[in-house]
């Protein structure tokens, strides 16, 4: 289930890429999901937990992954209970956020209206109001309502 908190909230990490650099586990990068996300978003290949092959930068460490992928990896594998700011992710990460939310109870934090309009099977619970939204139109309506209050 994907849960969304819009705006400031306790226990959130505003800039997940910094948190990732200082907390990630090598084992995360050995998971098929991590390899798929790195390939899709960064167009890079995970050669091993210490080596990513980027088509632009060449061989790089996980610390040079994009902020979006770092945030997705935290959402998928971090078990600290922290809530990560998905506004560090571009819209090209939206489908992955929804996919992760199907596999686990995922709560994200947003500081902008993220575009889920192109995402298949988008459903979420907006924790600010407790409202469950079953499509993009319902999500927008609820987020706009929260922004007005």
């Amino acid at each position: 289930m994907l849960n969304i908190i819009f705006g400031d909230a306790p226990n959130t990490v505003y800039h997940p890429p910094t948190y990732f650099d200082n907390t990630y586990e090598d084992s995360w990068l050995e998971q098929p999901l991590a390899k798929e996300m790195v390939q899709d978003i960064d167009k890079s290949e995970v050669v091993g937990p210490h080596l990513i092959e980027s088509p632009v930068l060449g061989p790089v460490s996980p610390k040079e992954l994009s902020g979006g992928v770092k945030t997705l990896l935290l959402m998928a594998f971090d078990d600290s209970g922290k809530i990560f700011n998905a506004s560090a992710c571009g819209d090209n990460c939206a489908q992955w956020i929804v996919n992760i939310g199907k596999e686990k109870n995922l709560t994200i934090n947003l500081h902008h209206v993220m575009d889920f309009s192109h995402v298949e099977d988008f459903r979420a619970k907006i924790l600010n109001t407790g409202k469950k939204v079953g499509n993009y139109q319902e999500y927008l309506k609820e987020i706009f309502r929260i922004k007005e209050n």
Binding site: N92, V113, E148
Partner: protein
């Protein structure tokens, strides 16, 4: 600071090249487009100079500003182009907005937040994309592209409804334009109400008109609304006063040169956003004449057929043949 400033940043693998021409520029867009890498390169180059191995070229100093000491450092900087990365929450604060307002620096902010305290232009919200390899085919060439256009859903079909950001002269003008046509015209009473007001108008053919020079903070919400209401059209010229100045109704020395390159004339420490400059120009140069302008109430001479037509002709979506009844 005034002017358009060309920036080149490159190392052995990447080259970024772009122009910065207003006090506030926003960079956002998809992940993995190289935003943070750009910041890292500028940071290294500005601290270490040539010893960084990074080539950084601009006619003004280019640097990165961080969270820890920004309030101490910023007052010492003048005529710099300052990049701030997305981890710096202070860019959402009123304190930062106040600092930008009177600054002679240009700011380039990497963020997906709306930043409602900052009046940035629809034209200065960019993404970064790779446009191919640079010359020697070894280096990837990155440039910025505008995410939004000042005119969306281009069509010369007449809308059923007009929603105007402003409640003063601009609204009076457009109300008069559609008065004898079967078109309704309403005011949002400010840019922060535009999206909410647009939601309330259920029309299949709605045109939203606002001041592009400061509409940036509303663009993401409006753009998201257009995903579920694709018939909504938007037109965001710099401002209503800019339309009047372009119309040729008011003449003064160098007007065409100023309108062709406003950045060469607008001092960022004096004007938080460009629409205030255009308003000041119009008030100053129309004073004492039959088209004397004031923002709070439209001079009725602007509603005479010749004057009205001259202003309408500045709008690319307006085709008089289609719209006269």
């Amino acid at each position: 600071m005034k002017g358009k400033h060309h920036v080149i940043v490159q190392n052995n693998k990447l080259r970024y090249e772009f122009d910065i021409r207003r006090n506030i520029t926003i960079i956002r867009g998809d992940s993995a487009t190289g935003k943070t890498t750009l910041i890292d390169l500028i940071q290294a180059a500005s601290v270490m100079g040539d010893e960084s191995g990074i080539f950084l070229q601009c006619d003004r100093p280019v640097r990165v500003l961080g969270a820890a000491d920004w309030e101490i450092v910023l007052p010492q900087l003048h005529e710099n182009i300052i990049f701030i990365d997305e981890e710096n929450r202070f860019i959402t604060s009123q304190t930062f907005a106040d600092a930008v307002k009177n600054s002679d620096n240009y700011f380039v902010l990497i963020t997906r937040e709306d930043l409602p305290n900052l009046p940035y232009s629809v034209d200065e919200i960019y993404g970064i994309h790779t446009s191919g390899k640079y010359h020697d085919t070894k280096r990837v060439y990155n440039e910025m592209y505008r995410i939004y256009s000042s005119l969306t859903n281009v069509s010369t079909d007449m809308p059923d409804d007009l929603l105007i950001e402003d409640s003063n002269s601009g609204y009076e003008f457009f109300s008069a334009v559609v008065k004898d046509r079967s078109i309704s015209c309403s005011s949002a009473h400010g840019k922060s109400n535009l999206r909410k007001s647009a939601e309330k108008i259920s029309s299949d053919s709605l045109m939203v008109i606002g001041d592009g020079a400061a509409i940036g903070p509303e663009m993401n919400d409006l753009f998201q609304l257009m995903h579920i209401r694709p018939s909504i059209r938007c037109y965001f010229p710099e401002s209503f006063e800019w339309l009047i100045l372009r119309s040729g109704l008011i003449n003064f020395p160098d007007i065409q040169k100023i309108l062709a390159a406003p950045e060469e004339y607008i001092e960022s420490s004096q004007y938080f956003s460009w629409e205030r400059f255009f308003t000041d120009m119009l008030i100053q140069w129309s004073a004492g004449g039959y088209l004397q302008y004031q923002k709070s109430e439209l001079n009725s001479n602007y509603l005479h057929p010749k004057e009205m037509k001259a202003i309408l002709q500045q709008m690319p979506w307006w085709e008089e043949g289609n719209h006269t009844e």
